[in-house]
């Protein structure tokens, strides 16, 4: 497993360095804006990026680091007087989007997770590497610049989530089954992105579907459908850009399976509203956003998402 990680890192950095010089010639004021769709897995365990948007609009090429925090509360659901406990999911993620050809890009996301929660037996915490996600994107439609008022960009992608994060079956109680570092499984991701731009105003839409497989402990997390849309507005000059954004993001979970048997009350759905901004200066950009649930029904009502927020710091390639 270590070898795989190292391999990916080497490939990632090689591509990064190889392309850095080439991209210098392509500077333009909008490049520093990276649209970061931010809907992580509702239950954190695979919050390594499988359900995030992997999008960027004007310049798809960057490396960076982001931190995101997810606040949940959960209950065992056994009694009317069962206590609710807070769960805190923290993730620091190295991420990048690296061009391979003019039409093909590769996204890599490597999370480090540190989660904690209260329980009837006291505080618990888990930390460690999460699941590594690698995705390839192919640009199938891209409006030539300046040719039209509306510019479209459609990308199709696919990838894999590798079980570099630890899955501990003893966490599988009647409480949040996703209090994990990783799913323990090889999962496959199909993704699409659509970007529409008219002068300073734009919309970024994304759909992706994660096919999850059974892990070594015979547990299979439910397949997951994610969707999101973000409207943004670009204020920019020669070296500086400011991009406020407003949008929504949703996640739909199918049931989990254990030993090929459905685990009741593990399906669910959540819809978030989100607000955020990006600031770009030269090759650097700083972004932050917050997400609040509009509607949710997770894990039979035994898990509730409170809110999420994130910050990121990126370097344009």
């Amino acid at each position: 497993m270590k070898k795989i990680i190292i391999l990916f890192l080497i490939i990632g950095f090689s591509i990064t360095y190889a392309t850095e010089k080439d991209s210098l010639a392509l500077e333009n004021p909008f490049k520093r804006y990276y649209k970061l769709l931010e809907d992580c897995d509702a239950c954190g365990c695979s919050a390594s990026g499988g359900s995030m948007g992997f999008s960027s609009m004007l310049n798809p090429n960057f490396v960076g680091v982001r931190y995101f925090y997810q606040s949940y509360q959960s209950t065992d659901g056994l009694y009317s007087n069962s206590p609710w406990y807070t769960e805190n999911f923290n993730t620091i993620q190295l991420w990048g989007r690296i061009p391979v050809t003019t039409k093909i890009q590769v996204s890599l996301l490597l999370p480090y997770q540190f989660h904690n929660r209260e329980s009837n037996t006291g505080s618990q915490s888990i930390s460690g590497l999460g699941d590594l996600t690698a995705l390839g994107f192919y640009s199938i439609v891209k409006t030539k610049k300046d040719s039209l008022t509306f510019k479209h960009h459609v990308l199709l992608g696919g990838g894999v989530k590798i079980p570099t994060g630890k899955y501990n079956e003893s966490n599988n109680g009647s409480v949040n089954p996703s209090y994990q570092l990783g799913t323990g499984s090889w999962d496959y991701i199909l993704a699409t992105e659509y970007i529409l731009r008219k002068e300073q105003i734009g919309f970024n839409g994304m759909l992706n579907y994660t096919i999850k497989t059974e892990n070594e402990k015979n547990y299979r997390f439910g397949n997951q459908f994610n969707y999101g849309g973000t409207f943004f507005y670009v204020v920019a000059n020669e070296s500086f850009s400011f991009v406020p954004q407003l949008g929504f993001a949703g996640e739909v979970y199918e049931s989990n399976y254990q030993h090929q048997q459905k685990v009741r009350n593990t399906e669910g759905a959540i819809l978030f509203g989100k607000i955020g901004f990006e600031i770009g200066k030269d090759r650097f950009s700083l972004g932050a956003n917050a997400m609040l649930p509009i509607h949710q029904n997770l894990t039979g009502g035994n898990v509730e998402a409170n809110y999420r927020w994130s910050v990121n710091f990126n370097y344009s390639l």
Binding site: L78, Y138, Y188, Q258, Q260, Q261
Partner: protein
């Protein structure tokens, strides 16, 4: 470009199928495993606690100080309809709220299979009682230690439920519900519960059946016991009604873990 998309699609289908092939660990021949059965006492839908005031449908308020019941003769039904009966010598349990360990029954040497139903009795069945002291091993001693016996002739207490009550005429008066044989009527109760998920007993999987036992139902079920009429309920039609109408309906399987 169409070709590329097609190729990507084919690649995805292929890899998905490839990695989706799971190992079926159905080692159900000759192998055995352990099954755990948890009796989780509740009152209404609240987690049960001693000395906590609970209001019944008749307005009486009870605070419980002791609860023990005998779970016996466990029978498991497999997916194919066949049954496995836990050997009688290993199939008498005293579920005692004061002793957390006693609420989790561990049944070893269960044939590996997918079980869909659990059946058990509350009390000591008449056949076992009629075997007499010699054939019952240390059952009598175990029961006696928990105050679950009457005289030898009157036999075992099947359910012991004690505490205090407040009714129109009484404040914090004692109540004692002891069920068992009443004269010629034996009052052994049988409970049969379908499992919402199969219990997958394997050498590598120890399923746990989580049963909710609603203590409220003992006195406030189909038959409602009014302590206002007397706090000592140890015989007669009240006990017969409790064992016939209330106790068989107080249990429910909440879920099954297959960890």
């Amino acid at each position: 470009m169409k070709n590329l998309i097609k190729n990507i699609a084919i690649l995805w289908v292929a890899t998905t199928i490839l990695f989706s092939c799971s190992n079926n660990d159905d080692d159900t021949t000759n192998a055995t495993g352990t099954l755990k059965v948890e009796f989780d006492n509740i009152y209404g839908d609240a987690n049960f606690a001693f000395n906590t005031p609970y209001t019944n449908s008749n307005g009486e308020i009870v605070k419980v100080t002791d609860v023990v019941y005998i779970v016996s003769n466990i029978v498991l039904t497999k997916e194919d309809g066949s049954i496995y009966t836990v050997p009688k010598s290993d199939s008498y349990f005293f579920v005692n709220e004061s002793d957390a360990a006693s609420t989790l029954l561990s049944l070893p040497n269960i044939p590996a299979a997918n079980y869909t139903k659990i059946t058990f009795g509350i009390g000591v069945d008449e056949a076992q009682f009629n075997v007499g002291g010699e054939g019952q091993g240390n059952l009598w001693e175990r029961a006696d230690a928990l105050g679950m016996t009457w005289s030898w002739a009157a036999g075992y207490k099947f359910v012991k439920f004690e505490g205090t009550y407040t009714s129109p005429s009484f404040t914090d008066a004692s109540f004692m519900v002891h069920t068992g044989k009443t004269g010629e009527i034996y009052n052994y109760a049988e409970v049969s519960l379908n499992l919402p998920e199969n219990a997958l007993v394997r050498s590598t999987i120890t399923p746990q059946i989580h049963i909710m036992a609603n203590l409220k139902d003992i006195i406030d079920g189909t038959t409602v016991v009014n302590f206002e009429e007397g706090g000592m309920v140890m015989g007669g039609t009240k006990v017969q009604n409790i064992m016939a109408n209330n106790v068989p309906n107080m249990f429910e399987v909440h879920h099954v873990h297959n960890d």
